[in-house]
């Protein structure tokens, strides 16, 4: 077959253009997350980077920042250039809209399940043998029981813990808010150390050996058992607990400024993919995809869960009533 000169020239030009236009890009994202998600995102980020490389040829590096959810949200409001946030509760992400206008007001509707790709709950972690015979929330209020939980002013997990205990007492006493406040006050009187985040409290209980019971994210409790062995700790499933829905969102203004919107959006959507849900379940976060809910059903204890909307009227009201300045936490807790 004879090749004309013009065809050869076109082919040659194309051969040059294709590698030039297909040069792989190096992209970095910053995921600002809450305290206990380190292991989850270490594995998830690796998986997403491989997925994105295979899909687009580009190299994406995800940098992580972890800390108490409240502190992390404030850092983003103050200018930390997060492409995405994966925080413990919706209120902290709402604050990013209200105070810094970095995301739209309807951010939560943009991803499935109110932007919560996984859920969790609050359980009680005790020493092996359960020496203080902790069975339920009311045991935490007894004298002589040392309770570990982080500071609700800085930690998202701590706020879930606080509301879980409050909700338990409301259900027990038929809805008396004053009695619930007294009950939670007794629990906090038993707290010797307030860490700023959930991972700090894990360190206090697990590594420093302080306290009799740790009010813990479910995934943290399982992680403690897995890393340090089931011969050191036990999980006590309370009679009732709260459904925690840690949400995620793109930080629009930052992503648009850094031109990372497409990859940041794909990163969040990947949390809902089969691979993302598998990794979540593996790290003891409850998947939301029904296929994986079934797969990991045996891993998670059955807990009677209530929603924050049903018992507390949603996060805006709960934050105002309990955790803002002058709220119930300020009323019950005296710094030691």
């Amino acid at each position: 077959m004879k090749l004309s000169l013009s065809k050869l020239l076109i082919a040659g030009a194309f051969a040059l253009a294709v590698p030039l236009s297909a040069a792989a890009k190096d992209i970095t994202l910053l995921n600002v997350s809450y305290d206990p998600t380190r292991e989850l995102y270490t594995e998830f980020n690796k998986a997403f980077a491989a997925h994105w490389k295979a899909k687009t040829g580009d190299n994406v590096t995800i940098k992580q920042s972890h800390g108490g959810a409240g502190k992390q949200a404030r850092a983003v409001i103050d200018g930390l250039q997060a492409d995405v946030v994966t925080l413990a509760l919706a209120y902290d992400i709402d604050a990013i809209h209200e105070k810094a206008k970095l995301i739209p007001k309807d951010w939560q509707a943009r991803l499935p399940n109110n932007s919560a790709p996984y859920t969790s709950t609050i359980v009680l972690l005790v020493r092996k043998g359960n020496p203080k015979q902790i069975k339920d929330w009311d045991d935490l209020a007894k004298p002589g029981v040392s309770v570990i939980t982080p500071n609700p002013k800085t930690s998202g997990g701590a706020r879930w813990n606080y509301l879980a205990a409050w909700g338990y007492e409301l259900k027990r006493n038929g809805g008396d808010q004053k009695k619930a406040q007294e009950f939670v006050k007794k629990i906090y009187a038993n707290v010797p150390v307030l860490d700023s985040g959930a991972r700090g409290s894990t360190t206090t209980f697990v590594e420093r050996g302080i306290g009799d019971v740790f009010i813990s994210w479910e995934n943290e409790a399982f992680l403690a058992l897995k890393e340090l062995g089931p011969d050191k700790f036990e999980i006590v499933v309370p009679s009732v607990s709260i459904l925690a829905e840690p949400p995620v969102t793109l930080v629009d203004k930052v992503a648009d400024k850094r031109k990372t919107r497409a990859v940041a959006q794909a990163y969040l959507e990947y949390l809902y993919s089969d691979q993302g849900q598998e990794i979540a379940g593996k790290h003891y976060y409850r998947p939301t995809n029904p296929k994986y809910v079934e797969k990991y059903a045996k891993q998670f204890p059955k807990v009677n869960l209530f929603k924050i909307d049903d018992v507390f009227g949603g996060w805006q009201k709960a934050q105002k009533d309990h955790f803002s300045d002058g709220g119930t936490f300020d009323q019950i807790y005296t710094k030691k």
Partner: protein
């Protein structure tokens, strides 16, 4: 002396067990198990308390480290006092300049000239940066009879080669004017900077450094100033009607960073142009002793363009430095039916030698050894010489009194105004830099004046000794 928690645990446990053992040896067997239980519970309780204290200390240390990272940085040093945000994006600096002068005049007949002590500059200055690239500068002067805002501007550093500055600041014309008042080698600037080039004005300019910072450019538009004047001074502004004053300057250091003998060479040129009509010409000139000696007749008005051009250069090599510049100011004027283009010019050549060996430079001198009698440090010493002159266009003095552009000559004394066509000045200076911030200066300057009129004697020579004590940071 601090103990580790493990050491404390062991000590307490040993003490308790030891005391328990002593008690045990003297007690009946029936109490053994309950006492042991009590001891065990006590040890566990104390162990927990120690662990809690340890952990609180750990958390406090972590918080201190985090707070330190977020805390602003406060500095106080020879460069001034500053506060900077932890992320270095925002800063505020407090700087200052104080110059206390003495002026002694010799051999003058002018009863109005008095030897005097005065505050020449009293300038607290606020500088800062917002969001990494927006610099602001507010420089006030309390030395004049009424306080003056000398500088007030914002500079946006979008790129090193593209910056936009707006407000009141030095018009980019004279090389010596651009030099900071902290760093000038003689107590008063030359005719080029002090009499003809504009001082400060309100406007905006685009400027930057290009070609590896070897070339600096500035192009600006300003309200417009008559020769030697400053916006906000007691002298009138030029208001140019619909036109403003354009200023442009380029300055090159072509061998900068090459490490050769020409490393310290800088050359440049500046230019201004304004257009106005029917404004009383406010150019007025003064001697180094700050005595006015020329002004235009009040009826002389602008009649078109006013342009200035100023080639300029400096050279520094080790302790040696020389600076030279020329300026011509050309103004279209008219008085009645008569009009002309008047060219007034000035030039200077100034050299200095740092006799203690420090490097000379445009931005001043830093002593190798600060003045400290105890340590035998004498600071840095510099000698300097300068010649400068100003020449007024002879056409300004032509014609009868009713049509002459120059102000009426005052001939009642030998130090009258508006008689001088040319002023020539020689200056010798000795500067003592005690440290980076404190300086003593002594400048002797002698000026002779050439009369513009054949029948009017030259104005008497001016001989003045300036001394200055300066603190600047």
């Amino acid at each position: 002396m601090t103990f580790k928690a493990t050491q404390i645990h062991g000590l307490i446990a040993a003490t308790l067990i030891g005391s328990g053992a002593l008690a045990f040896s003297g007690n009946a067997f029936a109490n053994d198990s309950s006492e042991l239980e009590a001891l065990r519970a006590l040890v566990q309780e104390l162990d927990q308390k120690i662990r809690v204290l340890d952990r609180k200390s750990e958390i406090a240390e972590e918080k201190a480290v985090t707070d330190k990272k977020a805390a602003p940085v406060i500095k106080a040093n020879s460069s001034g006092f500053s506060i900077e945000s932890a992320d270095k994006k925002h800063s505020l600096k407090l700087r200052g300049q104080l110059q206390a002068d003495a002026r002694h005049f010799f051999g003058d007949d002018n009863p109005d000239i008095n030897n005097e002590y005065l505050l020449r500059r009293v300038r607290p200055r606020f500088q800062g940066t917002l969001f990494s690239i927006f610099d602001f500068d507010i420089n006030t002067d309390f030395a004049p009879s009424s306080a003056v805002v000398q500088d007030a501007y914002v500079n946006a550093r979008f790129q090193p080669w593209f910056q936009v500055q707006g407000g009141k600041f030095k018009v980019p014309v004279s090389l010596e004017r651009i030099q900071s008042g902290n760093d000038i080698r003689f107590t008063e600037r030359s005719y080029v900077a002090d009499s003809i080039a504009p001082n400060r004005d309100v406007g905006f300019q685009i400027h930057g450094d290009v070609l590896d910072k070897k070339l600096n450019y500035a192009f600006g538009v300003f309200d417009g100033q008559f020769d030697g004047q400053s916006n906000g001074s007691n002298r009138d502004n030029t208001t140019n009607g619909n036109g403003k004053e354009f200023a442009a300057r380029v300055f090159a250091n072509p061998f900068k960073g090459d490490g050769n003998a020409l490393d310290g060479l800088g050359v440049g040129i500046s230019f201004t142009r304004a257009h106005s009509n029917d404004l009383a010409v406010g150019d007025s000139y003064r001697s180094p002793g700050q005595r006015g000696f020329f002004a235009y007749n009040a009826a002389t008005v602008t009649d078109g363009n006013k342009t200035r051009i100023s080639p300029q250069a400096y050279y520094y090599n080790g302790p040696f430095g020389v600076l030279g510049e020329y300026i011509r100011s050309s103004t279209d004027v008219s008085r009645g039916a008569r009009s002309a283009k008047l060219d007034n010019d000035a030039w200077q050549i100034a050299g200095s030698w740092v006799i203690t060996g420090e490097d000379n430079g445009f931005r001043g001198i830093t002593p190798k050894n600060d003045f400290d009698l105890a340590k035998g440090g004498w600071g840095a010493w510099e000698v300097a010489l300068r010649y400068h002159q100003l020449e007024i266009d002879s056409d300004a003095f032509e014609g009868a009194a009713g049509v002459r552009f120059a102000g009426a000559p005052n001939t009642t004394t030998n130090f009258g105004q508006n008689t001088t066509e040319k002023a020539q000045s020689w200056a010798a200076a000795l500067n003592w830099y005690l440290n980076k911030n404190v300086k003593f200066q002594a400048t002797y300057e002698q000026t002779n004046f050439d009369s513009a009129y054949a029948n009017i004697a030259d104005r008497e020579d001016e001989k003045v000794l300036f001394t200055r004590f300066q603190v600047a940071y």
